[in-house]
């Protein structure tokens, strides 16, 4: 762990103390968070991503603060360390479809396609395909196995439909972005929107956009979602192949894969019940999003159902 004295010297703080050891610093220049990285190429990609996102959107993001010598990344025994502002107040998105739609539109059209680090491409591994192909039923099937088999069949239908849409849309360039897991990554500072990027691998595809839209629909309803989509579309055209691919992404039964992976070694009935509830919740969320998105894209002829 880097010492407080060393950090003070690097960043030119006069006073600082740990709020959380090795993680959060309280300084005269505000509260700062240290982020540790184990891959140099990934941290460099994130520096570039955050700088470009800030430049293209004009929004504040958790960019890397430079040392007094102008370095954005410093070395530690365990790898690389960067320093960021720690902003905790959540941003309220209500009635902000225009601005936030523009933000996400630019987020997904940032165009940082040349990636020199490992990326996360959910379609690159075959896990989902494999689990969808084999039946869970045996001679002595338990109730759980029968439940799984039912879900598998439904999921396979979704998967095949998604595949069909994706193939029709054409395998054109998909966005590569910093992963988004929740709208709660949006914070507010000085009355201004501040986006907190996660440190994960760059992500290929539409998974992050799906997360944004799912949460938006749940929080603000379909009318607001349509307004958001209209704004995103101005910057990141969803009426073309991106929209079709996004629809395919929303149809793909990732929640089934997650359920199978998480419950493989679970034997406690209560725990299993929690996972089942989560699956049901996600399944319903996917259904509503696909329905709304289908309506927005006006692809009724596709007869998309979950």
């Amino acid at each position: 762990m880097l010492s407080l004295e060393y950090l003070q010297e690097c960043y030119g703080f006069n006073h600082s103390k740990w709020k959380i050891n090795g993680e959060i610093l309280d300084t005269e220049k505000g509260v700062k968070r240290l982020t540790n990285w184990t891959e140099e190429k990934r941290v460099r990609w994130h520096v570039q991503w955050r700088d470009q996102l800030a430049e293209k959107t004009g929004c504040l993001t958790n960019r890397m603060i430079q040392t007094i010598h102008g370095e954005r990344i410093i070395l530690s025994d365990a790898g690389w360390v960067t320093l960021h502002d720690e902003v905790t107040s959540l941003f309220s998105y209500k009635n902000r479809e225009n601005e936030i739609g523009a933000f996400f539109g630019r987020y997904f059209s940032l165009g940082m396609q040349d990636v020199d680090t490992e990326i996360n491409d959910p379609y690159a591994n075959n896990k989902l395909k494999i689990y969808l192909q084999q039946s869970f039923l045996t001679k002595n099937s338990t109730e759980e196995m029968r439940f799984l088999e039912g879900i598998r069949r439904e999921s396979r239908l979704r998967y095949n439909k998604a595949k069909e849409i994706k193939e029709k849309a054409g395998g054109k360039q998909e966005p590569i972005v910093a992963p988004i897991r929740s709208l709660d990554q949006g914070k507010v500072v000085y009355g201004q929107f501040y986006w907190t990027n996660l440190k994960g691998r760059p992500e290929k595809g539409y998974g992050s956009l799906r997360n944004v839209l799912t949460e938006w629909l749940q929080r603000y309803g379909q009318t607001s979602l349509f307004s958001l989509l209209n704004e995103i579309d101005k910057e990141f055209s969803l009426k073309g192949y991106h929209g079709k691919n996004l629809l395919a992404e929303c149809l793909t039964p990732w929640e089934f894969l997650e359920y199978v992976m998480k419950t493989r070694d679970v034997h406690e009935k209560d725990e299993l019940l929690v996972w089942k509830e989560k699956l049901t919740y996600q399944w319903e969320a996917s259904r509503l999003l696909v329905k709304a998105l289908g309506e927005w894209l006006d692809v009724a002829q596709e007869k998309v159902t979950v």
Binding site: K56, T57, G58, C59, I65, E99, F103, V189, G191, Q192
Partner: protein
Amino acid sequence: MSTNIHIRQKPIGAVLFQYDLYPEKIETVGKVKKVHTANGIYALKETEMGKDESEWLIHVIKRLERIGFHYVVPILPSKYGDYVLRYGDLAYYLMPWYEDHTKFRHPVHPEEVMVEELAKLHGLTERTQEYSEKILEESYETLKKRWTYRRLEMERYADQIEGNVYLSPFQLTFLTHFQRSLHMVEQAERHLSEWINGAKEKKSFRSVLCHGKPSRTHTCFDQYGTAYFLNFEKAVLDTPSRDLALMFRHFFQSRPWDEQEGQHWLHLYERHFALFDEERHLFMSYLAFPESLYQSVDAYTREDNKITELQAVTQLEKKVLTMNRINRFMNSVFKKESEEE
């Protein structure tokens, strides 16, 4: 860069956040916000600037730092290393607050210091340009065309008001001195021709980094009389004659002066950065053309003219006075040269 997304921005707060500045008080001083913080006082400049312009400004400031020209108010980087922060068409940059002194610990003549430091700036950034007769001709033709057009405009105005039965005091003053202004136009054109002929003969011309708006308001003096230039937003690579003429024009308008003083300033400049003969002609042609006088006519004839007749006449007379002084200054500089020859 594309336009910013406006998320109910409070730009000043968001801008200061990027410098980790927590203001205790913010004052507006001209076009600058004076930001008082526990760690010192800063000047935050808000300006309209495109992306290319802001990149150029950063390049200029970095270059000045690299070549060791220290008579500049530095621009401070944000905590992310940005020198200019952009919000749509607006750009912000931060400088330490330099208190501008008008009283000094020993006698100081601000004009002398400014002209010397301008010469040092030009000297450090001097570059001989690849000779191109085409570029020279283009510059010459452009300027000549503009002057011809201005002259025609003024002749037309003079013709128009001459037909009036009653002349306003402004019109009368203008007509009284119009012929003299035409003489200055001819002088300007003569010096411009001398410049191009000299440059063609020499087959070379040089450029320097011109401040672009050298004036007292863009200079801060410390208590010892050292001047620091600020606002390099209009900086450009061009002939030193241009920047020097701009500075002289500013001096001429800011206080009374005479040709001896003009010669003294030119001498001080040339002590650090001697002009070539053709550059001196160009400098003089810039000064001689009575653009400032003609601008008074533009202002007077504009529909939204808000100044009174008395103010208009006073301004015009001041400009006539300056024009006459420039004439004497011009004659004294070239008379001195011919005597030296």
